[in-house]
C-alpha cells in the first residue's frame, strides 16, 4: 500500500467539496443572475454610497488598529524579550490569557464600560465633562478592535525577538553603536518576520470584523463585514449577489495585503513556497 492513498479522501472529496466549491459559489453568485452572466452587482456595489462608506470605514479602522497595535505592542514584546526567561514566561501568560477568552465576551466588556450611564461616562461626568456619547461611535469600535487584537501583535514579535542572537547586540555595542543605533540597525531588521505576521494577524480579522462594529458601533459605524452579514442573513437571491460581490472585495483586499507583506518579507520566503 502506498501512503499517498491516505490523503485521497481529503484531496479528492473533502477539499474539492468543502473548500474549493464554496469559493466557486461566491464567484458564481457575484457574477451570475438566473444563470446569466451579469456585472449588475459589481456596478451596484461601486455606485452605492452605503457600500463605499462601509468599505472606507473598514479600511481605516483596520489600518488604524494595525498601526496602534504595532506601536503599543512592539515595546511590550521588546520589554518581555529582555526579561529573565521565567519572568517573561509568566508575564507573557498575562497576554495569552485574554486570547483564550471568547472574543465576543471580551468585546462585551467594552459595551458595559462605554454604555450610556456606564463606568466611563460616570468618570467623565465626575470630571465635569457632561454626557459625552461614547458607545456607537467610531472611537468605541477602534478601542475594542485594538483591545481584541493587541495580543496577536505582541506574541509573534516577542517570539522573533526571543530567538534573536544576543551576541549580535553585543557585537554592535563592541563596534561602537549606541543604544538607538543597535536597535534600528540590528534588533528592528531582525524582528521584521514577527512584525509581518503580527500585522497580518491583526489587519485581516480587523478588516472583516462585524461583531465588534455591530455591538459597539451600532448602525452609526457600518463596516464591510456588517453589510455582508446583513445581506446573507436576509437571504433573497439578489441580496446574495451583492453579499458575494462584497465578499470578493474582502478577499481581494486580503490578497493585496498579503502580497504587500510578502514583498516586504522577502527573507522569510523560505517558509512559504506555496501558490499564494
Amino acid at each position: 500500500m502506498k501512503r499517498v492513498i491516505l490523503s485521497y479522501p481529503y484531496v479528492f472529496v473533502w477539499m474539492p467539496l468543502f473548500i474549493i466549491a464554496p469559493m466557486l459559489f461566491v464567484l458564481y453568485y457575484a457574477f451570475f443572475r438566473d444563470g446569466q452572466f451579469t456585472l449588475e452587482y459589481v456596478q451596484n456595489v461601486v455606485a452605492n454610497d452605503t457600500y463605499l462608506g462601509a468599505f472606507w470605514n473598514s479600511l481605516w479602522i483596520a489600518l488604524a488598529t494595525t498601526v496602534i497595535c504595532l506601536l503599543m505592542g512592539y515595546p511590550i514584546a521588546y520589554i518581555l524579550s529582555q526579561m529573565k526567561k521565567r519572568t517573561a514566561a509568566l508575564v507573557s501568560l498575562l497576554f495569552i490569557l485574554p486570547m483564550w477568552m471568547n472574543m465576543l465576551l471580551r468585546t462585551l466588556a467594552w459595551k458595559v464600560l462605554l454604555f450610556d450611564g456606564g463606568v466611563f461616562q460616570q468618570i467623565l461626568s465626575f470630571f465635569g465633562a457632561g454626557n459625552v456619547q461614547l458607545i456607537y461611535t467610531p472611537g468605541a469600535v477602534l478601542l475594542a478592535t485594538v483591545y481584541d487584537f493587541l495580543p496577536f501583535m505582541i506574541l509573534p514579535i516577542y517570539t522573533t525577538l526571543q530567538k534573536l542572537d544576543r551576541s549580535l547586540i553585543e557585537a554592535a555595542h563592541d563596534l561602537g553603536a549606541n543604544g538607538a543605533q543597535t536597535f534600528t540597525k540590528v534588533v528592528l531588521p531582525q524582528s521584521v518576520p514577527g512584525i509581518i505576521s503580527g500585522i497580518t494577524m491583526v489587519f485581516v480579522p480587523a478588516m472583516s470584523t462585524f461583531a465588534v462594529s455591530t455591538m459597539l458601533g451600532g448602525k452609526q459605524v457600518m463596516l464591510l463585514g456588517q453589510v455582508i452579514e446583513e445581506k446573507f442573513l436576509a437571504g433573497t437571491d439578489s441580496v446574495l449577489g451583492i453579499g458575494s460581490t462584497l465578499s470578493l472585495v474582502l478577499i481581494i483586499l486580503v490578497i493585496v495585503s498579503m502580497v504587500i507583506m510578502n514583498r516586504i518579507d522577502k527573507d522569510n520566503s523560505a517558509s512559504g513556497g506555496t501558490l499564494w
Binding site: Y8, F18, I79, L105, V204, F210, S244
Partner: protein
C-alpha cells in the same frame, strides 16, 4: 538614567496589562450586582449567576458548543493526520497545489469562509434545520488545515526509513503506520487536536452563517447582546469563562515549569556524575 528607564519600562508594561484586564475586572464586578442590565453598580447579589444557570438557552448553546467541538476536532484530527501522512509522501508539485488549497480556510477571513459554506449548504440541500450537522461539517473543514500543518512538520522531522525498516522487519503497512509512524508524530497529532478543539469552541463568524437552527455559545451571546444593554448573566458567564481559562492555563504552565525543573535536576545529576 538607567533606573529611570527601567521605571518607565515597568510602568508602561503595567499600564498595558491594566488595559488588558480592566474590562475583564469590570465584568467580574458587574456579575455580582443586583441590577439586570450591567450599567451601574446596585448592591451585591448572586442573581446574575442564578439566572445564568436557569437559562435553558445558555445550557443548550453550551452543549451544542461542546458537542461540535468534540466531534469536529476528532474527525478533523483523523482526516488531517491521514492526509498529512499521504501528503508527505506525495511528489512536490501536487503536494504544493494541495497545500495551497488547504491554506485557503486559514487565510480567508472567517466571514468569507462562513458565507461560502452557507451558499454550498443551500445548494446541496443540507437544510437549516440540520444545524448540528452543518456546524460539524463547517468546523471540521476549518480545523483540518490546522491539524495538517501541525502534523506535517513532525513528519519532516522523523525519518522515512523508519517506515521502510518496520516493513523490512515484517510489519504490514498498517502495522508500520500504527506502531512506528503514528507514535513518532504523536506530539503533532495531539497539538493539532487541542488546537482544533479550542478553535471550534471559540468560533463565531463561521458558525453564525452555517449554524441554521442550532446555536453555539458565541452565536447566543451575539444574538442576545448585539443591540441594547448587556444582561448581567453574560457578565457572570464572562467571569466563569475567565476562571476556567485561567485555571487551565495555570495548570498547563505549572506542569511545563515543573517538567523544566525535573529536566534541569537530571542534567545536574548527570553532570555531577561526570
Amino acid at each position: 538614567m538607567k533606573r529611570f528607564l527601567s521605571f518607565l519600562k515597568h510602568s508602561y508594561l503595567g499600564l498595558v496589562i491594566l488595559f488588558m484586564y480592566l474590562p475583564i475586572l469590570v465584568m467580574i464586578v458587574m456579575s455580582f450586582t443586583e441590577s439586570r442590565t450591567a450599567v451601574q453598580w446596585r448592591g451585591f447579589s448572586f442573581g446574575a449567576y442564578t439566572s445564568l444557570f436557569k437559562d435553558a438557552d445558555v445550557l443548550d448553546a453550551l452543549i451544542t458548543t461542546l458537542v461540535v467541538a468534540a466531534v469536529s476536532s476528532i474527525v478533523s484530527t483523523v482526516i488531517g493526520t491521514a492526509s498529512a501522512i499521504g501528503l508527505h509522501s506525495m511528489r512536490r508539485r501536487p503536494r504544493m497545489v494541495v497545500e495551497s488549497f488547504t491554506q485557503l480556510p486559514m487565510v480567508n477571513p472567517d466571514l468569507v469562509t462562513g458565507v461560502s459554506m452557507m451558499l454550498l449548504f443551500a445548494f446541496i440541500g443540507i437544510r437549516q434545520s440540520w444545524g448540528l450537522l452543518r456546524l460539524i461539517i463547517a468546523h471540521t473543514t476549518f480545523n483540518i488545515p490546522y491539524v495538517i500543518f501541525s502534523v506535517l512538520p513532525k513528519l519532516r522531522q522523523s525519518s522515512d526509513s523508519l517506515y521502510e525498516a518496520a516493513m523490512d522487519l515484517g510489519c504490514s503497512p498498517l502495522q508500520a503506520l500504527t506502531k512506528v509512524v503514528i507514535p513518532d508524530i504523536m506530539p503533532g497529532i495531539v497539538s493539532g487536536l487541542v488546537l482544533a478543539f479550542t478553535l471550534s469552541i471559540d468560533d463565531f463568524a463561521i458558525s453564525l452563517f452555517t449554524g441554521g437552527t442550532s446555536m453555539n455559545l458565541s452565536m447566543l451571546i451575539f444574538s442576545k447582546t448585539a443591540k441594547g444593554g448587556v444582561h448581567t448573566k453574560f457578565c457572570a458567564l464572562s467571569a466563569l469563562m475567565f476562571l476556567v481559562v485561567g485555571v487551565l492555563l495555570l495548570i498547563v504552565n505549572l506542569r511545563s515549569i515543573h517538567q523544566e525543573k525535573v529536566a534541569a535536576e537530571q542534567k545536574k545529576k548527570v553532570m555531577s556524575r561526570a
